[in-house]
């Protein structure tokens, strides 16, 4: 298994935010991590990335415990921008190339070229959508085993969402797996193999997207809305 989470529990103070989460993901899948705000998506993602400690349980990436070795295998797109916006594109590319042994500079420049983004462009003069694209290009230009994308399409226009989705698809190779969280379900559900429904720190569903469609005759978005009605 590429990713294994076993009995993961996480507390913030006295509040239990992840309640005994267990699941595993094989290679070669695109998986949607779906849940309302506050369901625990980002907490779970941060634990897998080794940015938050867990109170109990275990997480393995390709059999490796969370640490330096697991981080080498994961390419992570956080929810918010962490790049210094005063830098030029070529500077952040060099930064990534220095940091990650599996970063493919040529690929990054090729993808940026398709977007008509130049080496000398500064991030600070780009629109929000453009900056999101650059961030995605950086993450997808690594040759990782697990790509974790936290809300890759938050706050961007539909055309940009399409670009982001296509880039994810085109750069997804069979040995890797993509785990992406979102609440824009209808925009991404066509590319998902599997869906995980997270609610109140627990996994409510983990199943094949097409199976869920044929069983319910509904879209994932509709099933989600019905099950998590406020």
């Amino acid at each position: 298994m590429l990713l294994e989470c076993k009995n993961v529990c996480k507390y913030y103070g006295k509040k239990e935010v992840l309640k005994d989460i267990s699941f595993s993901l094989p290679e070669g899948k695109i998986v949607g991590l779906l849940g309302k705000n506050g369901s625990g998506k980002t907490t779970l993602i941060k634990i897998i990335n080794g940015l938050l400690s867990l109170n109990s349980g275990e997480v393995f990436v390709c059999g490796k415990e969370i640490g330096v070795e697991s981080k080498k295998l994961i390419s992570y797109l956080p929810e918010r921008n962490y790049l210094n916006v005063h830098k030029k594109v070529k500077d952040v590319i060099d930064y990534f190339a220095d940091f990650y042994a599996d970063f493919d500079k040529e690929k990054a420049y090729k993808l940026l070229d398709e977007l008509k983004i130049k080496k000398e462009d500064k991030l600070s003069v780009m629109s929000k959508g453009m900056r999101e694209k650059v961030r995605l290009v950086l993450v997808m230009s690594r040759k990782a085993k697990l790509y974790i994308l936290d809300e890759p399409m938050g706050g961007v226009d539909p055309a940009t969402r399409d670009y982001i989705l296509d880039t994810i698809l085109n750069n997804f190779d069979e040995g890797a797996t993509i785990l992406m969280s979102t609440h824009l379900i209808s925009d991404i559900e066509r590319v998902l193999d599997e869906v995980i429904f997270l609610a109140d720190g627990k996994i409510m569903r983990l199943e094949s997207a097409d199976k869920l469609r044929s069983e319910t005759g509904k879209s994932i978005d509709e099933v989600f809305r019905e099950e998590f009605k406020c």
């Binding site: 695109i30 989705l165 193999d193 469609r213």
Partner: protein, 116 residues
């Protein structure tokens, strides 16, 4: 190409690909595009393409040559039979729709003739 989110995407894709075989876009005996190319063309997950292709394989419309990829069946009869099957299905569903309008078969035939 827009897929509906209410139905399994792989079934919708296999229908589209089957139509390409029926209408001769992919000809008998010809190689069909690779999984990756099809994923690109239809903007879907390569795993979905894989599943759609195994549907077509089950219908005997395509076959796999171990290292070369996937090909449309050589025997034109198989395609012909599948076309007839589709035509029958469509006719039945059309007749069903007309029935719901309260129009009997004889009357339906007149509609067909009038709209030819």
């Amino acid at each position: 190409m827009k897929f509906s989110n209410e139905m399994p995407i792989y079934l919708q894709l296999s229908k589209v690909l089957a139509l390409n075989i029926v209408n001769g876009k992919y000809k008998a005996g010809e190689k069909i595009p690779s999984v990756r190319d099809l994923a690109n063309i239809y903007k879907v997950n390569p795993n979905t393409v894989q599943k759609a292709l195994s549907e077509l394989e089950n219908l005997n419309l395509i076959y796999t040559e171990r290292t070369n990829g996937k090909f449309v069946v050589k025997d034109y009869k198989v395609i012909k039979n599948y076309t007839i099957r589709l035509a029958n299905e469509m006719t039945l569903s059309y007749l069903e729709n007309m029935k719901e309008l309260g129009i009997e078969k004889k009357e339906t035939l007149k509609f067909i003739e009038r709209n030819e």
